[in-house]
């Protein structure tokens, strides 16, 4: 990927990220992203042959727990925060025609 972003690239990534881009802001966003990627490009200067990627600072393993339900009857509590509800369900625009 080159360091200079085109409006098309930005719009594509925005679609992936479920963000709308207003046309007026695209040049500023392109410039900011291009500058950030010039910063990030420094990573390519170092040799990382045979270096394992590190996702966890302590190289820890994922802990597992017993497959048991520990939280009960949270429906009302969780629905209280939903923007639109009906009959114990969350409402969204129609998905299936």
């Amino acid at each position: 990927m080159s360091g200079n972003f085109t409006p098309e690239q930005v719009k594509h990534v925005a679609r992936l990220a479920a963000l709308n881009m207003d046309e007026a802001s695209i040049p500023t966003v392109c410039a900011a992203l291009s500058k950030t990627f010039q910063l990030i490009a420094q990573l390519q200067e170092v040799d990382t042959t045979d270096v394992a990627p590190m996702c966890h600072p302590l190289d820890a393993k994922q802990l597992l727990r017993a497959d048991e339900v520990t939280e009960h009857d949270l429906r009302d509590v969780l629905l209280a925060g939903a923007p639109a509800t009906e009959a114990g369900l969350i409402l969204v625009p129609k998905v299936i025609e």
């Binding site: 990220a17 900011a32 950030t36 270096v51 600072p57 969780l78 939903a82 923007p83």
Partner: protein, 484 residues
């Protein structure tokens, strides 16, 4: 009362000099008077605070008070607080009432502490100046034309202005330590996994750390004992014993080997800042420590690595904000896609959107290997450099920030300049190492800190060293004149 540290307040309450209700009323009055200037709180929980203070006084009357019972504190608005607005300083969560308490919230409640309110911050913890908050910028009490730092800017300003004796904070790239440096506080980011992240709203899950901003190392030690510890609800929580940090404070530091990374003390460091940091190092030398030059060859890559990994993890974490189950939803969505896109575009601020875009880009199929995997490889190299260094030294000393607090608006148009504020701090988030910033003095009447970095789980040694430094210096006792 507000000029006292938590250790002193605990003593006063134990000796019944005043009640927790009186103490809480005192801080609430200060918030009422001064916070219109600082904007350090998003929500002040007056009623709840007074109820908690009353309960604390009743416990004390029964002889059941613990060390921190009845002591007020401020809580960064990134921690869930049941029944109370928890916003992460974002329009996206402006209407969010947390249905549960974060583990840190619960622990401080169990300790009998009194929550004054939720502090302002950079939106979703993304920022180094507290200028990206939906609720407006926070001012630095040392000079209200300057930033307090970020993202825990509200926490730092509240403690610096003594609107609270201590605040919780979080640190993903420097967000406790940098504001601590700018505001003359002691700010500790512990080892990754030391403090539970359950209920601490996620920005970058492998980099986020909960911690404290306090007036002194002693206060930090008292609080760290309360908030640290294994939590089964956080799968990255580490199951190791929490030491008695308070008991370690008075250990002698004779023979302690302190490393100064040559990469941090090169020509690029401002000479006035370098002078302050070197003076601090010399003070530790006088206490019996020895100073050694060390090298961290890959440290210069910490900002590039951080600005791949943090946005990547943020783009994943913030995908939960879709306008469906909680948080902001746009008006009259025409279809599901419109609901997602408009809710997110209207709910998030521009810095958050920028980082989501960067993150989405580096995780996309044709970029993943070249950027995300590469950054995680460099991350391992950075950590290995520290492991090598700790074969020769016990602690590492460095600047915390490149300068004192900058002016509000000075860097907000140039994200890269803002990102470089994390130069000395981001590496320890990548490596998960505990690190602490403490006051080193003043430059043109503005505070500047220096940083101590320990090996994993060496918070006790950090706090001990900082406490010894604070026995022979009084920078940390200073407070801004206008707020005295």
């Amino acid at each position: 009362m507000h000029t006292k540290t938590i250790a002193q307040l605990a003593d006063d309450l134990a000796n019944k000099k005043y009640s927790s209700v009186e103490l809480t009323q005192h801080y609430l009055a200060r918030i009422n008077k001064y916070d219109k200037i600082l904007n350090s709180f998003i929500t002040v929980t007056e009623e709840m605070a007074l109820a908690q203070a009353k309960a604390a006084d009743e416990l004390r009357a029964k002889g059941q008070a613990a060390l921190l019972t009845g002591i007020p504190y401020a809580h960064k608005d990134i921690f869930c607080t049941k029944g109370i607005k928890t916003t992460c300083a974002s329009k996206m969560l402006d209407n969010f009432i947390a249905p549960y308490d974060a583990t840190v919230t619960q622990k401080l409640h169990d300790a009998g502490m009194v929550m004054l309110g939720k502090t302002n911050m950079d939106e979703f913890a993304m920022g180094s100046s507290n200028e990206t908050s939906y609720y407006g910028p926070v001012k630095n009490p040392w000079d209200i034309t300057t930033v307090p730092g970020g993202s825990s800017g509200g926490s730092a300003a509240a403690v610096a202005g003594r609107l609270a004796p201590m605040s919780t904070g979080t640190d993903t790239g420097g967000s406790i330590r940098q504001p601590a440096s700018y505001c003359n506080l002691t700010g500790l980011k512990p080892t990754y996994g030391r403090v539970s992240r359950w209920g601490m709203i996620a920005f970058a899950s492998s980099l986020d750390h909960g911690g404290v901003l306090a007036q002194s190392a002693e206060d930090s030690a008292l609080l760290m004992e309360e908030i640290s510890g294994f939590d089964a609800k956080d799968s990255t929580s580490v199951n190791t014993v929490v030491p008695n940090y308070k008991a370690m404070l008075n250990n002698s530091i004779k023979g302690l080997k302190i490393g100064l990374p040559k990469e941090f003390f090169c020509g690029k460091l401002d000479s006035v800042v370098a002078d302050k940091v070197n003076t601090a190092a010399k003070a530790l030398e006088k206490l019996g420590a020895s100073l050694h030059e060390i090298t961290l060859p890959n440290i210069g890559l910490s900002i590039p690595a951080y600005y791949v990994i943090a946005p990547a993890e943020c783009s994943t974490n913030l995908s939960r904000y879709d306008g469906v189950r909680f948080g902001y939803r746009c008006k009259d969505p025409k279809d599901l896609n419109d609901l997602y896109c408009r809710s997110r575009s209207e709910g998030f601020g521009s810095e958050v959107k920028r980082r989501i875009l960067i993150g989405t880009m580096v995780l996309s199929a044709d970029s993943y290997e070249a950027y995300y995997v590469k950054a995680q490889q460099v991350r391992r190299l950075i950590r290995e450099d520290f492991i090598q260094a700790y074969q020769q030294v016990d602690l590492i000393l460095s600047p915390t920030t490149t300068s004192v607090a900058f002016g509000i608006g000075e860097k907000s148009n140039d994200p890269i300049t803002m990102y470089l504020s994390d130069l000395y701090t981001a590496a320890t988030n990548l490596a998960g190492l505990p690190s602490l910033s403490l006051p080193a003095g003043f430059i043109n009447d503005l505070p500047i800190g220096f940083q101590l970095i320990g090996n994993h789980f060496e918070e006790g040694l950090l706090l001990n060293t900082a406490h010894q430094y604070q026995q022979v210096t009084d920078w940390h006792l200073q407070m801004p004149k206008e707020f005295q």
